[in-house]
Symmetry: C2
Subunit: 594 residues, 2 copies
């Protein structure tokens, strides 16, 4: 979605001011992995309006700009904006970059001229390139019409190359007239300079949102380097304050946080619509500032995290609860996403799921995972890893894409009991009968109707178990008419009491002025055809893969992969059902394992 | 749906034996109106598998055969079968009849040769016509492939024209081989004759269902006329029994009922799949028989009655609750019916609603309605009619297509209070928070999952009121954040707190192994564009129309039509809401009317 449209939406809902975060592409693979985790945490905790990635001018990092932007758009849960500069770029290279961005789902571009190439003092357009940012805006508009949201840079103190502030403002006006729908400013530390700039923009007829760029001071050295490079005017008071604490890094950081808060508060009072934070790929200061400003809204619109490219998506199969990125990836090619009701997965709009992609761990990750999971040599060892995960001693299982934050681990006695008996649980949810949609644990709901809603869940659990357990488990489940189950092994043996075509609502919510929303479901075909394959593949591709070939651990995991069954059990009766007592009955019926 | 497919479905669900009802087309308009009411009552109470209409051979009643069959298919709630005979029909006339049947939604034909034309002893095919029923079956198959379900007649005693029973059976076999998928037999009174016939059919390889035709004895004279005409063998015992009671009509009827029950029980034990009742357009005996056999299943699949042509239809706007036929008519041209979720009424599949059709009362109906509703001359008079309806003193209001049966009138103190204050209610439903789907009053559910479901309703009421009330009502409703409302007059003034595009689930149900079912909704656009027009039109077209032009009643109703507002109020909070206290507040806020 275009950022300008997101801003309009927020205005309509009264959620102004917003905030957004800027990152730069790291130079190493490890750095990129870490940055993604950081972005994910920040998006999850703070819910920014968008995140942007600077252009890796001229280097291989420009590829990473596109990749990280695309990753943000598709997986992070916020909207992405990609920077694009003219430095060292031929028109053909510019077109290639835009084309690739479009292909990868990016819908917003920050169009910049960029700095002169290294070793060159004054800006000259590259051969066969464009000269001004306004040329780039015009070019994008001509070639792509209204496809992209376009932002441009504003310079509160005037661009370093500008002959005068007036001259600079008229350039800015030209960029907006060429089709930009948003201005993001260069950093500044004198609030009045920004306000003056803002007023002048309005005076000459610039009507689009003008978002101040805020760079919290993170370190004394860094601050001086940056302000010198950008020729930023810094009020004497700030220089004096910093001088006094420059030896104490923490104090400098704290000062930077407070200064940014002061600026934001002042600008908010002045009516500014949002703040753009230069994070420098760091998270602590920005988190502190945004929290202190009291602007954070992280309500869950659905039990899973909505992502930028799929605003209309309203329902997903429940299995992927801990593997949302895998689900997104596997459904990338869909024309359309189901809107709060799953319907029929065989519908042509759904398309076939993408094949599984193999996870490539870095060497450091493998080392870390081996430390987490050890080197199991018996099924007992494997079981203990599941139990220790549930008890919080391990923060990740192979079936989870990310480490779980402590507070989201749902420690349930039932699950520990099950795992202790070799029913290895990988997803589950408790029964909920009409909890308030504002409930801290299980609440969710669409933004404007979040209040006054009620949410429901059917108790559900998914687990692997040894083949010798299957008959005993099924004989207990069959006694309970309100229970639906599926069990299958990798070879394709399938036991179920669900008819072909069955789709069960697993989570639903009733909100004012809406039809019923059904954000998660269990679909017989999807379980058998997609999820079973993926859940079993994890044994090999995301666990066994960290051990040496021929090692006992690898052999053990492969034998589990070959022989175990995956069970999906759902208690249809969300009012009178009791999954705890159901599984107590199951556990007592299990044959002994010797 | 084809009847043979319905039978398979029933078998799968274990609901065997079924039963079906046969009617003939009356000769007068009044008779047709009465027959339709009767069919409606019988379908509603007994839920037969299908109903068929005999062919009005050669007369204008053949047109009525098609019309009544089509009406059954579209509106009654059961599947229709149309008889078609060759008597006096050229091939072109046959084709015209089939073509018309198809156009009008009919999907099942009983293909018959028919009797010789009046005044003609032996059967000869008409010029340019077909000779045998098997020719007709073949013809339908050739021309329409698998479009129609085709039934043929079987003669347990042999056809009167057949040279032998064996000869007759081979003709029957020929009809089945030509493509018939069902046999319905001629009437009989000797059960063993039927069983013998049934066995012989199976012996010569007829594998399709063979349904006995049962004609309960309704009167002594009629029985003798019929059995003589059909040359039916009647066991001496029956003749003796009847002879003894022939003077007492009631006794004869009772005897006929008991005899039919005995036959059905015997045949059911023998494994027969269903019974076809010749009703002679009478209802009492058949109702008694079917009830006594204990075969009746009239569970509601949805809060409104499902009809034959729309098996997948799962949701309707709530306003038409008492005008289902009008709703069906207005949506006849839709490509597709929404399946348990309304979604977006602006979807292309929905099409534009048909224009309203004007109701044409017969003179007798007008007389009856004037007696019911009197000749109101003041708004007070009108109000009193609504109140008396709610108190059960009048059994119909113009907004109801049919008289309500006593037990379904929901007498609510709230509604009486409202009408007493000139809020003229036309539809409403109480709040329901998770009642069992088997609840006698508010329960409903899809056949196989009816058990273990829970149903929900948002309290909802729709009423007309004088324009002077509108502001006062809205000022109260606006104080309740969980209430959604719309109010509009015929000129188009529209007051609402619902955003454009709003669709609210009014009724929903949660069933095992399903997504959530949402059978009724309120849709802002549908209310304003379709329902408002229809609800107001009723004042003139279905009420004022019964009075003379220029009469005070007609003038009064027109002035109400011109000035009143139609209100739709729904309490979103189906758990904590209280529509009674809401309207108590509304009533005390109303301005006085002088």
């Amino acid at each position: 979605m275009k950022i300008i449209d997101l801003i309009s939406e927020r205005k309509k809902e009264g959620h102004i001011p917003f905030y957004s975060f800027e990152y730069f592409p790291p130079k190493t693979e490890e750095g990129i992995i870490n940055l993604k985790s950081r972005i994910e945490r920040m998006v999850h905790q703070l819910n920014p309006l968008f995140a942007d990635v600077t252009w890796g001018a001229g280097g291989s990092t420009s590829t990473e700009t596109i990749n990280i932007s695309s990753w943000i758009e598709r997986y992070s849960g916020t909207e992405a904006m990609m920077h694009l500069t003219l430095t060292n770029m031929t028109l053909e290279q510019i077109d290639t970059a835009i084309e690739e961005a479009k292909e990868k789902g990016i819908k917003n571009i920050l169009a910049l001229r960029g700095d002169p190439p290294r070793g060159q003092e004054a800006w000259r357009p590259p051969e066969g390139g464009l000269h001004y940012a306004s040329d780039l805006v015009r070019h994008i508009k001509e070639k792509y019409g209204d496809y992209f949201g376009i932002a441009v840079a504003g310079y509160p103190e005037g661009h370093v190359d500008a002959t005068s502030k007036e001259d600079d403002l008229s350039h800015l006006k030209e960029k907006v007239d060429a089709g930009a729908d948003l201005i993001i400013t260069q950093l500044f530390y004198d609030d009045d300079v920004f306000i003056d700039f803002y007023q002048k923009c309005r005076e000459i007829g610039i009507a689009c949102p003008i978002i101040p760029g805020i760079m919290p001071i993170q370190s004394y050295q860094g601050f001086h380097r940056m302000t010198t490079f950008c020729k930023t005017k810094v009020p004497q008071q700030i220089l004096d304050d910093l001088e006094a604490i420059k030896e104490d890094e923490d104090e400098v950081k704290k000062y930077g946080i407070n200064l940014a808060i002061k600026t934001c508060k002042k600008l908010a009072e002045y009516g500014i619509e949002g703040f753009h934070f230069y994070t420098l790929n760091l998270e602590r200061s920005v988190i502190a500032i945004v929290n202190e400003l009291g602007l954070v809204e992280t309500e869950r619109e659905a039990p899973w995290r909505k992502v930028a490219g799929r605003r209309d998506e309203g329902v997903r199969p429940i299995h992927w609860g801990n593997r949302p990125k895998s689900y997104i990836e596997r459904t990338l090619a869909w024309d359309d996403y189901p809107n709060w009701r799953w319907g029929d997965a065989r519908s042509p709009a759904f398309g076939a799921p993408h094949p599984l992609s193999t996870r490539n761990y870095t060497i450091a990750q493998i080392k870390d995972l081996r430390k987490k999971w050890g080197s199991p040599e018996t099924e007992e060892d494997v079981k203990n890893i599941f139990v220790r995960f549930l008890q919080g001693e391990i923060n990740r299982l192979p079936w989870l894409e990310e480490e779980l934050e402590k507070e989201t681990i749902l420690i349930q006695n039932l699950l520990v009991e099950m795992n202790n008996h070799n029913l290895l649980t990988i997803t589950s949810q408790p029964q909920v009968n009409g909890a308030l949609s504002t409930d801290a644990k299980v609440g969710w709901g669409p933004k404007s109707q979040k209040l006054n809603g009620y949410v429901y869940q059917r108790a559900f659990v998914e687990f692997f178990c040894p083949p010798s357990f299957v008959d005993a488990i099924i004989s207990v489940l069959d006694k309970h008419s309100s229970v639906s189950y599926m069990a299958a092994n990798i070879a394709g043996d399938f036991k179920t009491n669900m008819e072909e075509g069955t789709v069960i609502a697993a989570t639903w919510g009733v909100f004012p002025n809406r039809e019923i929303l059904q954000p998660t479901i269990v679909d017989r075909e999807v379980f058998y055809k997609w999820w079973r394959q993926e859940a079993f593949a994890v044994w090999l591709d995301e666990w066994a893969v960290i051990y040496e070939d021929e090692s006992p651990s690898k052999q053990l995991l492969r034998s589990i992969y070959d022989s175990y069954y995956l069970f999906n059990v759902i208690e249809n009766d969300y009012i009178g059902g009791n999954i705890d007592s159901l599984f107590e009955e199951v556990l007592t019926a299990l044959p002994s394992r010797n």
